[in-house]
Symmetry: C2
Subunit: 207 residues, 2 copies
């Protein structure tokens, strides 16, 4: 294991597909997976802990981080910034740890450009109707917001070409198991497992 770089696992998909729920169960199932904590400029909500839920920074601090190219990806939603700090992720990968990013499609696109070796997993709804139900079921939003979200989700579904794998979230446990298999298989892919085997089996080691 030592000396081997970890995998960057990017779990993304349309808003409302259930990334949070699947990501949380995946982390329970694979406790060694490092979860990347995002930076945000929005104020903490009750119960949210610095460094656990988010790193909370001012808009000015966030903008300074953007200038310093400190983000693997970032975006602004509803006047608040959200971003994935690069240093933490790269440090864990260099230590050989697998890192999980649960991010929006827009952010995944940025990560693909900056770190093409990542394992990009698109979480898809079982049907379009299921996604509509999820987006509407979130509750209090007015019809205009819901309609905008649906339009956005439709756009996001078209971005699937960017991804290495498609996992249908028809059942949370089944989706988690599929993602676990993807991570296992990616570790066994030739480019990654090859050096390890060479190391085990070269003549210098044999004799």
């Amino acid at each position: 294991m030592s000396g081997r770089r970890g995998l960057l696992i990017v779990l993304s998909g349309p808003s409302g597909v259930g990334k949070g729920t699947v990501g949380q169960k995946l982390r329970e199932r694979m406790p060694d997976l490092v979860y990347s904590v995002s930076v945000t400029s929005r104020p903490p909500r009750a119960g949210e802990v610095e460094g656990v839920n988010y790193f909370f920074r001012s808009r000015e601090q966030f903008e300074e981080m953007i200038r310093q190219d400190a983000f693997l990806e970032w975006a602004e939603y509803v006047s608040n910034y959200y971003g994935t700090p690069k240093a933490f992720v790269f440090e864990k990968l260099a230590q050989g740890r697998d890192v999980l990013l649960e991010i929006e499609v827009q952010g995944a696109r940025q990560v693909r450009r900056r770190y093409p070796d990542g394992v990009f997993i698109f979480l898809a709804p079982p049907t379009w109707e299921a996604l509509v139900d999820r987006i509407q079921g979130r509750g209090t939003e007015d019809p205009a917001v819901i309609s905008e979200r649906l339009r956005q989700a439709e756009q996001e579904v078209r971005e699937v070409d960017l991804y290495d794998y498609v996992v249908v979230n028809d059942d949370v446990d089944a989706a988690v198991e599929r993602i676990r298999c993807i991570i296992t298989a990616e570790h066994l892919r030739r480019a990654r497992a090859f050096d390890e085997m060479r190391r085990r089996l070269t003549r210098e080691v044999w004799r």
Copy 2:
């Protein structure tokens, strides 16, 4: 599932690594996996059943099949022919079934040329010593035969570049589980899962 082509899973690796044992447990664990029965020109041993262990053919019949390009791969060992019949494999793949080939490294090389879309898994020994033990432990062979097998295994280990995945056979159950994950993950890879998702989520289907 319908309309989707199955996966050709090629399990290979140096002679003595345990392909047979791992392959058998994998088939028990994944009963839907179609096992490709080989054709051979060697006479049946006691208890061997036509169409289960092998398809038994005369040398002349085998050579006629070679001329008709009926094999995905074939080779001659100790004056007997062994080969994988193409028609059976392609028929099952077209039906959407996954097909498992347990074959020698030499045969895997031929399959890679003829069917590059296969999923090529190299079963590797945990250490070179473990492979030596296995080859020597097979028993009755004289030292010259053993020495020739070791030389061949050493050559075969170098062919790992041809494969998509490397699975170390340190424990049969663990190796089987890794291969199961590889097959699951390969079904979820974009190129394969993509059309399926498009079919589920295109507007024509939604509305």
